[in-house]
C-alpha cells in the first residue's frame, strides 16, 4: 500500500460519511489548495470560493477516491475550479466593459514596459498560469502537471514554453541561450 496508513484510515472514514474525518482532510490539504487557487485566480476572495467548492466537490465524490493519494486528486479539482473561476470572471469583465458601468476597466499593458512578475502573471491565460503554478510552485514534473490539468503532455510543454516566453517579454528578462 502506497498511502500513509493513517491517511488511509481517514479516507475510509470519509467514505463512510464521517464529517470529522473530512475535517482532517481539510486541515491537511486546505492551505495547499487555497494557495494554489490564489496563485491561479489572482484574487483572495475568489480563491476562497474555489477552495470551498473544491472541498465540497471532494466530499460529494469521496467514494470515487480509490487507492489514490488525496493530494493530487484535490489538486486536480482545485486547478480545474480555478481555471473555471478565471473564465467566469473574464466573461463578467467582458460584459462589464460592454456596459461600461461596473468599473471593469481593463488594465492596459504595454509589452515594452517592464512589469514585475506579479503583474506579468496576471496577464497570462488561466490555463497557462495554472501550468506555471503547478510546475514552478508545486514542483510537479511536466507529466504530473499534465495529469493535474487533464491535458496531453505535449500541450503542457507548449503552454509552459509560451507562458515563460510571455513572462520574459513582460518583465524584460533575457532568455538564456
Amino acid at each position: 500500500m502506497l498511502m500513509d496508513p493513517a491517511l488511509t484510515r481517514v479516507i475510509e472514514r470519509c467514505r463512510e460519511g464521517d464529517r470529522d474525518a473530512f475535517e482532517e482532510v481539510v486541515n491537511r490539504y486546505g492551505l495547499q489548495v487555497l494557495r494554489t487557487a490564489r496563485l491561479i485566480v489572482r484574487d483572495e476572495a475568489v480563491a476562497e470560493d474555489v477552495c470551498q467548492e473544491t472541498f465540497l466537490k471532494a466530499w460529494r465524490r469521496i467514494r470515487t477516491l480509490r487507492d489514490e493519494e488525496p493530494g493530487p486528486w484535490l489538486n486536480r479539482i482545485a486547478t480545474n475550479e480555478s481555471i473555471s473561476a478565471c473564465r467566469r470572471r473574464s466573461r463578467f469583465q467582458v460584459l462589464a466593459e460592454r456596459f461600461g458601468r461596473f468599473g471593469g476597466v481593463k488594465r492596459e499593458v504595454s509589452t515594452e514596459a517592464r512589469l514585475d512578475l506579479a503583474r506579468a502573471l496576471d496577464q497570462l491565460a488561466p490555463d497557462h498560469r495554472a501550468a506555471i503554478v503547478l510546475h514552478y510552485y508545486q514542483d510537479l514534473s511536466v507529466e504530473e502537471t499534465a495529469s493535474a490539468l487533464g491535458a496531453p503532455v505535449d500541450t503542457v510543454k507548449s503552454r509552459l514554453k509560451t507562458a515563460l516566453r510571455r513572462l520574459r517579454e513582460l518583465t524584460g528578462s533575457e532568455e538564456v541561450s
Binding site: 493513517a6 492551505l31 487555497l34 514542483d139 538564456v176
Partner: protein, 389 residues
C-alpha cells in the same frame, strides 16, 4: 534547463503563496457547513416546514390526540428533524482540535468531570460564550507551566493541553484534581496569563477524543474514549524495548515539538552507536524549539512524495515517516535529499516533500525496530535513535 529567470519565478510564486499564511477560520466554517446534511425540506422553505408541523399538530390536537410522542411520530421525517433535539453522533477522533469564537471574552466558571460507559468526560463551563480554544494531543504527561516555564508531570502516560483564549478563570476553580478515571487521570491548571487560560489533562494512554460545543450554559465538552480503536496501531516489534540512560526505546508512533514560527532545516547527520543508529535533524541557529513533528511507523518502505503523490520505495523492509510542520529545508539545507548511510538499521533517508511549510522524510529500515525520539537544544535538533540488535 532551469535558468535564473525560472529560479526567480519559482521564488516569486513561493513568496506570493506565503502571503496566505493559513486557512482562514471562516473558510473552514463554510466548508464544514457545506458538508452538513440538509433537512429533508431543505433550508429554502423552513417556514413551510414549520407551517406544516403546526398544521399537523393542530390537527392532532383537534382530534384529541394527547400523547406528545404520538404527535411527533405522526410528523414527516423532515419536520421531525426540525423540531426534535439533535443527537450527538460525533465519532471520537485522534487529532488536535480547535474551535470556539475568537471574538468571545469570557470566564471559566467551573470545570468538572464524570465517568461514563465508553468515555470519560470533562466539561468546562463559561460565563458567556465559548472562546477560541486549541486542544493539543501529546505523547507524554509532561507539561510546562505558563508563564513560569516550570515543568510539571501529571498522572498518566499521555496528555492533552487545552488552551482557552480571552479567558479568565474564576478564583474558586480547583488548581489540580486527580479524577483517576480509566482515561482521565489528572486535571491541572497550567496558567492564567495575558488572557490565556491553560489546562493540562493527564491521560492513562493516548486516547481519541470527541469535542462538543454546547449552549445553555455555554460549555465545552471533551470526551476521552475508554474503549474503541487504539490511536496508533503498530506492528509487533521484532526487538523488545530496552531502557537506556537517554530514555526508553518504544515501538509506537511519536509526535511532539512546538510551533514557535517557521523553522529552517540546516543539516542532517547519521551515525551508528552501540545499540542504535542515530539520525539528527539540526535546525538553523536561533531556532527556539523543535517544530511540531510526527514520526509514523510503517511495515514497508513505500512512501508517497508530497505534493506530487508519486510513489517512492526506499531501501529496507520497514519504514519511518517523519513530518515536520512549519519547516522547510529550502535555503538552508545544502545536503543530499537522498542519504544512504547503510547503517545496521538505517539504510536510507529521503526527503519526501518540502511544500507549504511541511518538510517530510522517509526512512528506510533494515528491520522492524523500536525507536527513541529526543528533542535537544544548543543547537536545536530532533534526534531519532533506531534500535539495533
Amino acid at each position: 534547463m532551469s535558468d535564473d529567470f525560472e529560479r526567480r519565478l519559482r521564488e516569486h510564486l513561493h513568496h506570493e503563496a506565503s502571503q496566505v499564511p493559513q486557512l482562514p477560520r471562516e473558510l473552514r466554517g463554510r466548508i464544514r457547513n457545506g458538508v452538513q446534511p440538509r433537512p429533508r425540506f431543505g433550508m429554502r422553505a423552513p417556514q413551510l416546514a414549520f407551517a406544516a408541523a403546526a398544521g399537523v399538530l393542530a390537527g392532532a390536537l383537534f382530534f384529541g390526540v394527547r400523547n406528545q410522542q404520538v404527535i411527533i411520530n405522526a410528523l414527516p421525517a423532515g419536520i421531525r428533524q426540525l423540531i426534535q433535539p439533535t443527537p450527538t453522533p460525533q465519532p471520537f477522533v485522534c487529532t488536535d482540535r480547535s474551535g470556539g469564537n475568537p471574538s468571545v471574552s469570557t470566564q471559566v466558571t467551573d470545570i468538572r468531570w464524570a465517568r461514563h460507559d465508553g468515555y470519560d468526560r470533562v466539561v468546562v463551563d463559561f460565563s458567556s460564550g465559548i472562546p477560541s480554544y486549541d486542544l493539543t494531543r501529546q505523547p507524554t504527561a509532561n507539561f510546562v507551566q505558563d508563564p513560569s516555564g516550570q515543568p510539571v508531570t501529571l498522572d498518566g502516560s499521555a496528555g492533552v493541553k487545552l488552551i482557552l483564549r480571552n479567558t479568565d478563570g474564576s478564583p474558586s476553580l480547583a488548581r489540580d484534581s486527580k479524577p483517576g478515571f480509566p482515561a482521565l487521570r489528572e486535571v491541572t491548571q497550567l496558567g492564567v496569563f495575558e488572557g490565556v487560560l491553560t489546562y493540562g489533562l493527564g491521560l492513562a494512554a493516548p486516547t481519541c477524543e470527541r469535542v462538543l460545543e454546547l449552549s445553555g450554559p455555554p460549555r465545552l465538552v471533551i470526551d476521552f474514549a475508554t474503549s474503541g480503536p487504539a490511536p496508533s496501531a503498530s506492528p509487533t516489534p521484532t526487538l523488545a524495548p530496552s531502557a537506556t540512560a537517554l530514555g526508553q526505546f518504544q515501538c509506537v508512533d511519536a509526535s511532539g515539538g512546538m510551533d514557535a514560527g517557521p523553522v529552517q532545516l540546516k543539516a542532517i547527520r547519521t551515525a551508528h552507536q552501540p545499540g542504535y543508529d542515530r539520525i539528527v535533524f539540526e535546525f538553523s541557529p536561533g531556532t527556539g524549539a523543535v517544530p511540531p513533528y510526527t514520526v509514523t511507523r510503517q511495515s514497508s518502505t513505500h512512501f508517497v512524495k508530497d505534493p506530487s503523490g508519486q510513489p517512492v520505495t526506499l531501501k529496507g523492509s520497514y519504514g519511518l515517516r517523519l513530518v515536520m510542520r512549519n519547516t522547510t529545508a529550502y535555503g538552508a539545507y545544502q545536503g543530499s535529499s537522498d542519504l544512504t548511510p547503510g547503517l545496521p538499521a538505517l539504510l536510507e533517508a529521503a526527503q519526501l516533500g518540502d511544500f507549504e511549510g511541511v518538510n517530510s522524510w522517509g526512512l528506510g529500515l533494515a528491520r522492524n525496530s523500536c525507536m527513541r525520539v529526543l528533542e535537544l537544544s544548543n543547537p536545536t535538533r530532533l534526534v531519532i535513535d533506531i534500535q539495533t540488535p
